[in-house]
């Protein structure tokens, strides 16, 4: 067992000296439980699965951004040697989609293709190259339709409709919510600021392309391995489209080679290979090419936004009115949620007494947008934090000082009825100001060098499930083995964020054993109780709390049995270092394995369950389902930039970031999530764009992705990444497991606005648009030289016919969370309403 000794050596042995609160595992930098597999290449990703008689599938994707399918003739493909099966829209007509309110996708388009890359047929053959080849033998008769390239075109072109549902024409979703009298707020203001910003779309670019393997297993049931973040939702979609009882379907989420939100919808390719496996009664595999991953997308929504903010001289906010126009792409995906999210979290950082949010998501003939890390909140956060920088300058208050004056108080219920938990934003701002020497640098560095500050908040898990139900959001089952090992069964899905390590760390801590004694069975819909999936930073809190409950229940049984044996009150028993002993006389005790045997002898087989359901949200109005969360994390970042006035090139030598984590369960992994968020934020701030262009008229004039390849789609390399100084602010939040809050998405949000604010400090130009490319900086510098407004950004906001606003009086105006003019329902809603979103 030399190997195990070596393992234990590197993850601090269980009998190590407990820290101030007696914790031996939690809070200790450890090797992650799935670390060894990942560094030896033994982690089995979906495309690493090879089964005997396995066939390969390829999808034929539309070359046209918008067309009707008149006819598909696959006879030549079927006749091609090595081809087993060809599927088209007729074989899988049932629509599905991640949100109950937008079931608008088909595995293969029946008659209407809506973006370049929309799948119309599938070939299943003996070899991947044969399938690839046979795609060219399928003849599709397309009737080309006019294409819509952006929201303004969508607003101006109600016909032809990309979808038959939604608001009207090509408007998918419109939201209009008012919390308090905003006009009154503006009238009380000393200064009013109106600013327009544009946040370009970008994509997750996970290094692992989507891959899926499906089989009809020996019992005749369907098993699907897939690189998915949400096996539970995929399970439901497969049952719906294949018209099979869920009990006969098993979804195994293989470890994701990066997800970031890009693998959290049920996808065409997953459903197609499932159907093919059932028809052929042999394993069928598909792995998307990188180009196909760009067409899957579900990435960042491009958002044009207008902020109107009223402030007093001292910086106090009197009212905010935010309008957003959102480019949804060809399908709904999470879009309804994204539209609400774009207006939800503004109130979680600074006190906003009166707030109106209007959002409009349109369809366009481009790959569908969905949730990318931060899901709908980085875009408005960019606008809010850059506008605050402008306000601070006008009011001649230091940007950090301004924010410190208006930080929202802990446990507040905000204007839009989000109940906050612990709020350590003040501490984060103070720490990041100190460690970055902000005061000696802001407006003091030589020309071309500058610093920028920005803050943010993010939810620790969506408070409501995607489909309305009262069941727990996460469940854990524990099996206690006589040998002293504990097995964890849970639907939580490891996507690199460390959910396996969180579960093992928590159970080991509660039971006083080493994480190496724990075995994990996660992300498998047959083995573990449901966990809704790895999205909205929910897994640590929800699966973690469920694991604590299950472990505590097991611990109680063991304690009772040991208490009888040792004739000691069970309250005096302590679990540590794989032993259960009398805390007053530590030598008096039994090993953990013996404790299990004693409990088994007394109670029979030991197995426990735990589950977690978020607290009820006070937001009862329609749309209030987006934004509530058990608690919220906070971040503050300072970024230093060097801007070359000739080339416009923005170089970033250093980033300082403080994050309100509650408690770092495994500091090594938490720091990794912060640095990974900073990295992805810098990519969005400086270079990443999911860009489209129209081909010349003499060709097809169709709208195509500008560069669906990893070389042209710029992402930061090891040469681009600055040094990052991370400070974890630990003030345990009682709502989280051991006080832990989220870290996977929050730290990304302040990066883009901090870069924009730093560029302004460096060369005095405002780039009110992301990404902040050298070309835009040069243009703004030219404007500045010409004496015009030194700015690059949108100048115009389209006219949108907003629906009548749903009026929800804030708590401080006697509001009860309902809308007063709730024309959507006959009576004020006491229970949760239908539209629920992550």
């Amino acid at each position: 067992m030399a190997e195990q000794k070596q393992e234990q050596k590197s993850s601090r042995p269980a009998d190590a000296k407990p820290d101030r609160e007696g914790l031996r595992v939690i809070g200790v930098p450890r090797r992650r439980v799935d670390g060894r597999a990942k560094v030896t290449g033994q982690t089995r990703f979906a495309d690493d699965i090879f089964l005997p008689r396995m066939a390969h599938c390829k999808l034929l994707r539309s070359p046209h951004p918008h067309a009707r399918i008149r006819k598909i003739d696959a006879s030549r493909a079927l006749a091609h040697s090595g081809v087993y099966l060809v599927l088209t829209g007729r074989d899988l007509p049932i629509q599905y989609g991640i949100l109950p309110v937008s079931q608008d996708e088909q595995a293969l388009c029946l008659d209407h293709v809506r973006h370049v890359g929309d799948p119309v047929a599938a070939v299943i053959a003996r070899e991947e190259l044969t399938a690839f080849e046979a795609l060219d033998l399928i003849d599709v008769d397309y009737e080309i339709l006019p294409t819509i390239a952006d929201p303004e075109e969508a607003l101006a072109t109600p016909e032809p409709r990309i979808h038959e549902y939604g608001e009207e024409g090509n408007i998918h979703k419109q939201v209009s919510l008012e919390f308090g009298d905003v006009e009154q707020g503006f009238s009380e203001a000393d200064e009013i600021f109106e600013d327009t910003f544009f946040y370009q779309g970008n994509t997750h670019l996970a290094i692992e392309q989507h891959a899926t393997v499906a089989i009809k297993d020996p019992d005749g049931k369907l098993t699907v391995w897939s690189s998915t973040q949400t096996p539970h939702y995929l399970h439901r979609a497969l049952a719906k489209v294949l018209e099979m009882p869920p009990a006969h379907i098993r979804v195994i989420a293989t470890p994701n080679g990066g997800g970031f939100g890009g693998k959290s919808d049920p996808f065409n390719h997953e459903i197609v290979v499932a159907k093919a496996a059932l028809l052929l009664d042999r394993p069928v595999k598909i792995c998307l090419t990188r180009e196909e991953v760009f067409y899957c997308h579900r990435g960042r929504h491009p958002v044009l936004m207008k902020f109107k903010t009223g402030v007093k001289k001292d910086g106090t906010i009197t009212g905010v009115h935010l309008q957003t126009v959102i480019d949804g792409g060809a399908y709904g995906s999470y879009g309804v949620a994204s539209t609400y999210y774009a207006g939800a979290l503004q109130t979680t950082t600074y006190h906003i007494p009166r707030y109106r949010y209007q959002g409009c998501r349109t369809f366009t003939n481009k790959p569908p947008c969905g949730p990318k890390r931060g899901h709908g909140t980085p875009q408005p956060r960019f606008g809010q934090e850059v506008q605050l920088d402008k306000i601070a300058e006008k009011l001649r208050i230091d940007p950090a000082e301004l924010r410190l004056r208006i930080v929202e108080a802990p446990n507040t219920v905000t204007a839009n009825f989000l109940r906050l938990g612990t709020v350590n934003l003040t501490r984060c701002i103070q720490r990041v100001v100190e460690i970055s020497d902000w005061k000696t640098k802001f407006r003091k560095l030589p020309e071309g060098r500058g610093v920028g500050l920005a803050c943010s908040a993010y939810l620790t898990g969506a408070g409501l499930p995607i489909y309305w139900n009262k069941m727990p959001h996460s469940g854990v089952q524990l099996k206690f083995d006589r040998g002293g090992g504990v097995s964890i069964f849970c639907g939580a899905t490891e996507i690199g964020q460390g959910s396996d390590d969180v579960l093992a760390g928590i159970v080991a801590e509660v039971l006083g054993i080493d994480p190496f004694d724990v075995r994990l069975f996660t992300g498998d819909t047959d083995l573990g109780p449901v966990d809704l999936g790895s999205y909205s930073s929910r897994v640590t809190l929800m699966a973690g709390n469920a694991a604590i409950q299950a472990a505590e229940r097991g611990k109680a049984l063991l304690a009772e049995a040991v208490a009888l044996k040792l004739e000691v009150p069970k309250e005096r028993l302590h679990f540590a270092a794989r032993r259960v002993f009398d805390s007053t006389t530590p030598d008096k005790g039994v090993s953990f394995a013996e404790a299990i045997c004693l409990a088994e002898a007394r109670f029979g087989t030991i197995g426990t369950v735990g589950s977690y359901t978020p607290p009820k949200s006070p937001a009862l109005y329609k749309g209030g389902g987006v934004g509530p969360s058990p608690t919220y994390s906070y971040s503050a970042a300072v970024i230093e930039v060097e801007v070359n006035p000739i080339t416009g090139w923005v170089h970033i030598p250093r980033v300082w970031i403080a994050h309100d984590i509650g408690r770092a369960l495994n500091p090594t992994l938490v720091r990794g999530q912060v640095e990974g968020s900073v990295y992805m934020g810098l990519g969005e701030a400086l270079m990443e764009e999911q860009e489209f262009r129209r081909l010349p008229k003499r060709l097809s004039h169709s709208l195509v992705h500008k560069f669906p390849s990893m070389l042209e789609y710029k992402s930061p390399t090891s040469l681009d990444m600055p040094e990052v100084v991370t400070e974890l602010v630990e003030d345990p939040d009682p709502r989280g497991p051991f006080g832990a809050k989220e870290v996977g998405q929050g730290p990304l949000l302040p990066i883009m606005p901090a870069v924009a604010n730093a560029v302004y400090d460096a060369v005095g130009v405002r780039i009110d648009e992301v990404p902040i490319t050298p070309e835009k900086v040069m243009k703004a510098l030219a404007e500045k030289k010409a004496g015009r407004e030194p700015r690059f950004g949108p100048h115009h906001f389209p006219h949108v016919k907003w629906p009548e606003a749903l009026r929800v009086p804030p708590p401080w105006e006697g509001g009860d969370g309902n809308a007063v003019n709730d024309f959507h329902r006959d009576k004020p809603c006491t229970t949760k309403q239908k539209v629920l979103t992550p």
Binding site: K38, V39, Q42, T668, S718
Partner: protein, 174 residues
């Protein structure tokens, strides 16, 4: 595309050294080294991310030098030495780079890790004490979307110290 159907004509055959062991393998002649490693030799540790030599996930060592195996025609490898992530550890112990990557958070999802590990090994073989800029340079062809690279640099630096301490400069290949 070609008109005649491409059966899996396993007509090409080569012998080469894979992770210190002689292997004979037959495969369809058009296959890349990456495809042969993964599909014909069951070594799925080496990954693909872009099929165009843009992401670095498929990096392996060919005669000690990092190459993108998705751009190498397998036939070119006849009689040569290939090292993949599977060959890094030996006699029951992980290579110092693997230990450091696992301990210090240098692998999160783990998909880019194999390509980075072999590239880092080639770096340390050529230059046992690279500074951080040299590490950045050596790894600039390996994209990672999870870590932000910093913990990867720290892991390479920790492994460098460990290897120097061990003095044996133990390489994975016997």
């Amino acid at each position: 595309m070609s008109t005649f159907p491409i059966e899996s004509q396993k007509t090409a055959q080569i012998r080469f050294t894979l992770n210190g062991e002689k292997v004979d393998v037959s495969f369809a002649p058009y296959k890349t080294l990456l495809e042969v490693l993964r599909e014909d030799l069951g070594h799925t540790g080496t990954k693909h991310g872009c099929e165009l030599g843009e992401c670095g996930a498929c990096a392996v060592l060919l005669d000690g030098k990092p190459v993108l195996s998705c751009l190498v025609v397998a036939l070119e490898c006849s009689g040569r030495e290939v090292l993949t992530v599977e060959g890094l550890s030996g006699d029951g112990r992980l290579h110092p780079l693997q230990d450091a990557f696992a301990d210090l958070g240098a692998a999160q999802c783990g998909y880019c890790t194999p390509g980075i590990l072999v590239t880092a090994k080639a770096l340390l073989d050529a230059n046992p004490h690279p500074n951080r800029d040299q590490i950045r340079e050596a790894l600039s062809g390996n994209l990672c979307r999870c870590t932000g690279y910093l913990q990867i640099f720290e892991a390479v630096e920790a492994a460098m110290v460990k290897i120097a301490e061990e003095g044996s400069g133990r390489s994975g290949v016997r």
